[in-house]
């Protein structure tokens, strides 16, 4: 009995609940006669396009800065990079890769400044990161408004000034990754390229965490006083971790946009942080311990849940956004659970 209980604890209660939920929804979908092949294909695409965002949470947890609530900074940097690529009219692989390259540059600059600020507020990174992120989003709102873009896809059709709220990439690099080596099993579509790219990035991050620098980062996160005593430059390590996180988010939003078909500007990036945070926590990450597989498993679970829930909920309650409500409750519930588990001072 105690073995079973221990196994359950190891596996984690939140994951059991979520998996039960997914099964419940799948059964519901079967009973409703939903098209299962479409559901699974959609889920796979969603998992792929959101995974890098969850992975972006990893480096900050690694250096002990908690979840990166200021991920919006990385997202707006990524959008900026992608939009410049669209502005230049680059199409296909070249367009996407150039966009990602610019996103990495912008993300490095943004992440570096962000990490300098966070280094001064050790212990409250999440709270302050959240407000810094929102501030940057609104600063960028003003920038989008006056941005000197010329491409008619980007700017409003009337007035000839200001970026649109959604910018379609259909004429440029929509689904470039998804379509690469795409094949079908039965009626289920596998977006091979998307997964290849995402797992490539995951593998690179894995190599990084196993490298000497990665080890230093982990030491800083686990035991800062020991790290300081053994001569590690803590602030430097934190700068590397937080910048990496921002860069990953910047790449992530471009992967997301090529699959989703749109860039969302203005207030779009504001709420994007919560689902990836919930994903990596659901995958089993804690504030002390985080691995690549936590991000992968977590994204897989939460995105499957959200994707499959949508049509089932719509069937049950037409003209409503029950699935959106679910998203809010589930993702914030998981974050809240993790906060109480991390525990404060007991007294």
């Amino acid at each position: 009995m105690s073995v079973v209980r221990r196994k359950i604890r190891e596996f984690g209660m939140p994951r059991i609940i979520i998996i039960a939920f997914i099964l419940l929804i799948l059964v519901g979908a079967l009973l409703e006669g939903q098209d299962m092949a479409t559901l699974i294909s959609d889920s796979l695409v969603r998992v792929g396009q959101n995974m890098l965002m969850a992975l972006a949470m990893l480096p900050t947890i690694l250096v002990g800065a908690g979840l990166n609530m200021g991920i919006a900074i990385g997202i707006v940097s990524g959008i900026l990079g992608g939009l410049i690529s669209v502005e230049l009219g680059l199409v296909g692989w070249g367009g996407l890769m150039f966009g990602i390259l610019l996103a990495i540059c912008a993300g490095t600059v943004g992440g570096f400044i962000y990490s300098l600020l966070l280094n001064r507020v050790r212990g409250s990174e999440m709270l302050i990161g959240n407000y810094l992120g929102s501030t940057v989003v609104y600063l960028m709102c003003m920038f989008w408004f006056a941005a000197p873009f010329k491409n008619p896809t980007i700017i409003w059709p009337m007035g000839g000034k200001g970026v649109r709220t959604t910018i379609p990439v259909s004429d440029f690099f929509e689904k470039v990754l998804n379509r690469f080596l795409m094949f079908k099993i039965g009626r289920v579509t596998i977006p091979t390229g998307l997964f290849l790219f995402v797992f490539l990035v995951c593998f690179l991050v894995y190599l990084f965490t196993k490298s000497r620098t990665g080890m230093i980062l982990r030491t800083v996160g686990n035991n800062p006083s020991y790290a300081a005593m053994s001569g590690i430059h803590i602030n430097k390590a934190r700068i590397i971790g937080i910048t990496l996180s921002t860069v990953l988010a910047a790449i992530g939003i471009n992967v997301y946009a090529q699959s989703y078909g749109f860039y969302q500007t203005y207030e779009g990036p504001l709420t994007m942080a919560f689902t990836p945070m919930a994903a990596i926590l659901l995958g089993g990450a804690t504030m002390k311990n985080v691995k690549i597989r936590h991000a992968v498993i977590g994204t897989f679970l939460i995105q499957t849940l959200l994707t499959t829930a949508l049509p089932v909920c719509n069937q049950l309650f037409p003209e409503s956004n029950l699935s959106e409500v679910f998203r809010i409750i589930i993702s914030n519930g998981i974050i809240l659970y993790a906060l109480t588990q991390a525990g404060g001072d007991r007294r």
Binding site: R120, S124, L127, Y131, A146
Partner: protein, 426 residues
């Protein structure tokens, strides 16, 4: 030297006052128009901002969880609308429902915050987001989906309530309340005279009871007298006619706000209030001296939540339409930004900060779209500008708080104790 210190310690409100003045000049709108709107917004928001004070005193930091209270208030308003109540009865019933739900929610939130000591602000923020989900679930699906009611605010499908709920049956019923034929909304000069006389009378009574007529009393009474005389002169003059016509002061609401201000001041002097102050100062010492820390913290959260619920009811009785699903979402952020602009910090907040902050924040909130309309021919830039300011102020204030507490920690040589533990990051 004294002036320099004054400027340094009040840098934030002074900076924002200058921003507001610049905004008013740029917008080119008559001051009377702007002020009339600010009086309305002040009436709507002040109680919500006041609800932040007690948790700060208790060392919980800014309670972003007042969103929870706001939801409870909104819940009360929706239920009284469903019950077809009108006027003051509706407001009192809504306040009662808000009180009950807010006490329950406050206890739950307080327990949660006790489990995450040291990270209260982020937890209260996530509590706000989380309960927003629960709230939407209740009003989108449970009402109509499980509990069947037929009412005009239910969506045509029969499940869930409408996005906007008309409150014309109770709008202004507090603002226009008449006590013995007095009260309701009056023009600005009558309002100033009323409150000046009222404050002078209150101070005289308290001075008579204490038999203490010191210098402060004389100065304050004199200020009241000056206000009365100035208003009497201005009310008859031609050039102030527009201000007199536009700015309407709701006396009952402002009296209620005054009452709550007094209540908070009084509460802080009671045993419980002193305990809260002790906990806010140093939790370990408070525990050692036998204060029930956890319980007191829960009480602080409950009071804050209840005040926020009533604040939200006051907000909507003035506005007249409830934004049922998104009306409460930004309450936490806006109110925290307001009290910070007023000069409060995470460790220290009082009624003065709340009042000044609410005025400055809403002045800026009001003029920035107008100013940007003039400058850029578009009001959206101003809208984004005020949001940037709102979030930026909170970020900067929180950063300052961390720097200060770190420096003071090092000074008191408590740094060794703290750095010994691995840094808790969340």
């Amino acid at each position: 030297m004294k002036i320099k210190r004054f400027l340094m310690s009040n840098a934030v409100p002074i900076l924002f006052a200058f921003l507001c003045i610049a905004g008013i000049r740029l917008s080119g709108t008559p001051i009377a128009t702007i002020l009339s709107d600010v009086v309305n917004r002040f009436d709507r928001n002040i109680l919500l901002v006041l609800s932040l004070i007690i948790p700060v005193t208790c060392g919980l930091g800014m309670n972003f969880g007042i969103v929870l209270g706001a939801m409870c208030g909104q819940m009360g308003l929706v239920f009284v609308t469903l019950m077809n109540l009108t006027g003051m009865t509706a407001i009192l019933a809504a306040a009662l429902i808000g009180l009950v739900t807010a006490v329950i929610c406050g206890i739950l939130a307080g327990k949660l915050l006790n489990r995450t000591k040291g990270q209260e602000m982020i937890t209260s923020m996530i509590v706000g987001y989380f309960s927003n989900g629960i709230y939407q679930f209740i009003f989108l699906f449970l009402i109509g989906g499980v509990i069947h009611i037929s009412h005009k605010i239910i969506l045509s499908g029969g499940v869930g309530i409408k996005n906007t709920i008309d409150l014309s049956h109770l709008q202004y019923s507090l603002d226009n309340l008449k006590i013995f034929g007095l009260g309701g909304k009056v023009d600005v000069f009558t309002g100033i005279i009323f409150f000046a006389v009222f404050f002078a009378a209150c101070m005289t009574i308290s001075a008579l009871r204490n038999r203490k007529f010191d210098r402060n009393y004389i100065i304050r009474t004199a200020i009241c007298a000056v206000f009365v005389v100035a208003s009497l002169i201005m009310t008859g003059q031609e050039r102030f006619m527009m201000a007199k016509m536009l700015i309407r002061i709701p006396i009952p609401s402002f009296l209620l706000v005054t009452f709550f201000c007094w209540l908070i001041t009084w509460f802080m002097k009671t045993k419980l209030g002193q305990d809260m102050r002790a906990i806010g100062h140093d939790r370990d010492v408070a525990l050692a001296s036998g204060i029930k820390v956890d319980q007191t913290r829960i009480i602080a959260v409950v009071i804050s939540t209840v005040l926020a619920a009533w604040g939200q009811i006051m907000f909507y009785q003035n506005l007249g339409t409830v934004d049922a699903y998104y009306g409460h979402e930004k309450v936490g952020t806006f109110c925290v930004a307001a009290i910070l602009i007023g000069g409060a910090s995470v460790k220290k907040a009082n009624i003065g900060h709340a009042i000044l902050g609410t005025i400055l924040f809403h002045l800026l909130y009001n003029v920035s779209p107008l100013a940007s309309q003039k400058l850029f021919n578009d009001s959206m830039v101003g809208g984004y500008f005020r949001m940037t300011i709102c979030y930026g102020v909170i970020a900067v204030a929180l950063m300052l708080h961390v720097w200060e507490s770190r420096n003071s920690g090092l000074k008191e040589k408590r740094g060794e104790k703290k750095s010994g533990k691995p840094a808790k990051a969340l």
